[in-house]
Symmetry: C2
Subunit: 343 residues, 2 copies
């Protein structure tokens, strides 16, 4: 039996074609649109490619076809689980397909986002995924200039640049706070960090829910621009109980803050939920196993990533989806930290 050399990397399309007994262009078609070949040749090319360990040369492909097969993805943070979950969906959905993902980290900076968009612009990506809906006018202009489909992920709102997939952060926060109100809590605090656009909208939802019930009080609100961390949650709660010792619940801008709040309660011997109810946001895995288990708002981050790639590839293949804005919704995961208030 013949020994192939799958490690050489020097296998060209021509050689696959020769082994399969077809012309190079036929082999080329196989890799782009297998169904355009007759069944016999399709199989011959397929096995030839496998036998030789053929790997397409993307540079040559891009040069000849005048387009890269790159999907650019911009996220604000590499270490925030929320984006990591979304990214996993992106990579899972694009893996094995013809498009490769190019990731860039804006570090929550509009300026960086603009800069990175310009770089992508120069590379003519096949598609683009950006986080959120608060791009600067300059960024939006650059994107409009890019002749490719674009999906904004993580949230939805008016005036999509092209497509959107996410959910309403203000609605979700409104629902979470309403949940607390329904359960009998009235002096509900807001603990916020980072306060990026999505955090702002979660605050909006909190404020609207409180105002709707005539419960809003600025004293119950504490926020900072510092990045969210578990320790910070503890610090913020300390400040809040000093400022507003009468609070009976807190809605936290995310689960890390919520965990820090819980730890601080344990430290201060504040009974949860008897003395203080806690609700987080995102429903990270640890929320259910904390003691007591922590109520949170589940969002479909992995699905957002998958869906974004689906919409993008559909559009790139000439089938732009009917629904340009996809709402993936949310769900209140009611747990021990927000049991109905004992009267």
């Amino acid at each position: 039996m013949e020994r192939k050399q799958p490690l050489s990397g020097k296998v060209r399309l021509t050689e696959v074609a020769q082994l399969a007994g077809v012309s190079p262009i036929t082999a080329s078609r196989f890799f782009r649109n297998p169904n355009a070949l007759s069944a016999g040749k399709r199989e011959r090319v397929e096995s030839a490619a496998k036998e030789l360990g053929y790997v397409p040369n993307l540079a040559a492909r891009a040069l000849a076809s005048h387009r890269s097969e790159v999907i650019g993805v911009l996220i604000p943070s590499l270490t925030n689980n929320v984006f990591a979950d979304m990214l996993r969906g992106v990579y899972d959905a694009s893996d094995g397909g013809r498009y490769s993902v190019q990731l860039a980290n804006t570090r929550y900076s509009n300026f960086q986002e603009e800069r990175l968009l310009r770089i992508f612009h120069g590379q003519k990506p096949a598609g683009l995924i950006v986080t959120g809906i608060n791009q600067t006018p300059e960024s939006r202009a650059v994107m409009r200039n890019m002749n490719c489909p674009i999906v904004q992920v993580m949230e939805i709102g008016p005036e999509p640049i092209d497509m959107m997939v996410g959910f309403s952060h203000s609605d979700a926060a409104f629902a979470a706070v309403s949940h607390l109100i329904e359960r009998g809590y009235t002096r509900i605090g807001f603990v916020g960090a980072r306060m990026d656009p999505r955090g702002q909208r979660r605050f909006d939802g909190y404020r609207d829910a409180m105002k709707a019930a005539s419960l809003f009080n600025q004293r119950y609100v504490i926020t900072t621009l510092s990045p969210s961390t578990v320790p910070l949650g503890g610090i913020l709660l300390s400040d809040l109980v000093t400022k507003a010792p009468d609070i009976d619940a807190v809605f936290c801008i995310n689960d890390d803050i919520a965990l820090g709040v819980l730890f601080e309660c344990q430290r201060r011997q504040i009974a949860v939920p008897e003395q203080l109810a806690i609700v987080g946001f995102n429903d990270l895995e640890f929320m259910g196993s904390a003691v007591p288990s922590l109520t949170s708002v589940r969002t479909n981050r992995y699905e957002m990533g998958r869906k974004a790639i689906e919409m993008l590839t559909a559009a790139m293949d000439g089938h732009p989806p009917q629904e340009r804005v996809v709402d993936l919704g949310f769900e209140i995961m009611a747990r021990g930290s927000s049991l109905p208030r004992r009267t």
Copy 2:
């Protein structure tokens, strides 16, 4: 003023060269090594490029030069904080430089790793970062065939493929368990999940430390191949205390497991550390704010990413570092969960 309009609608190197009155290859040199040109031509090319708004075509460059300016990075998971921290270092260090990062997710699968390496191989990256030191022989063969510098990150060991930056997981685990032994604990359990190669070596360190003190007992060990999660930590502890109710401490394979163990202790009213000491691994941010604060092993993950890029770029620029294996060490962060045992 005549100007040929290329199909792509973009300015080509040739046009820059014409405007500057030099040959294309001279213009080409300008963009790669300006100092190789005479001052006069250098300036002429520079201003011509600026005037025309020339942007190099990376695909053509890659095709002709047989190398892209891409650094490939392979990690086992997108959602594990440990790799995210390393990645942040990678992106921070490479941002603004001439190399762009191409990320791929092996999902802890050797098979996927091999497949992805073949793809990278086809793209002729300028450099490569892979996680860990347990690549299959096939993967190693592919990498040897890639004519580019390679850094293995996250751990160190014998026989580097090219370069390495990390630390010894077995030494770190040995130190963590020794810490418990020094503090008076003797019936120390091991709680492990995922059990990837690095987890295995952490177990090795545990076992060696226990054996060195004549304390090893297989009954104290519980492991699973399931992915590490906080809830799983609780489940494993439950199983362990059933199997070995006499344990007085646990060394957890990572911090998520440790947090789950702590929660389970809270649930079962097991006093920490009086009845059970806990030590985790990685020192994620929440460890210090838990109640009690949790002892862990700090590792320099961000620095690993930075250093890997530094070593790579140095090697690519023809200055391979003297030290091909860089040990970034670790530190035991002793906290409340492993206070000296009360006798």
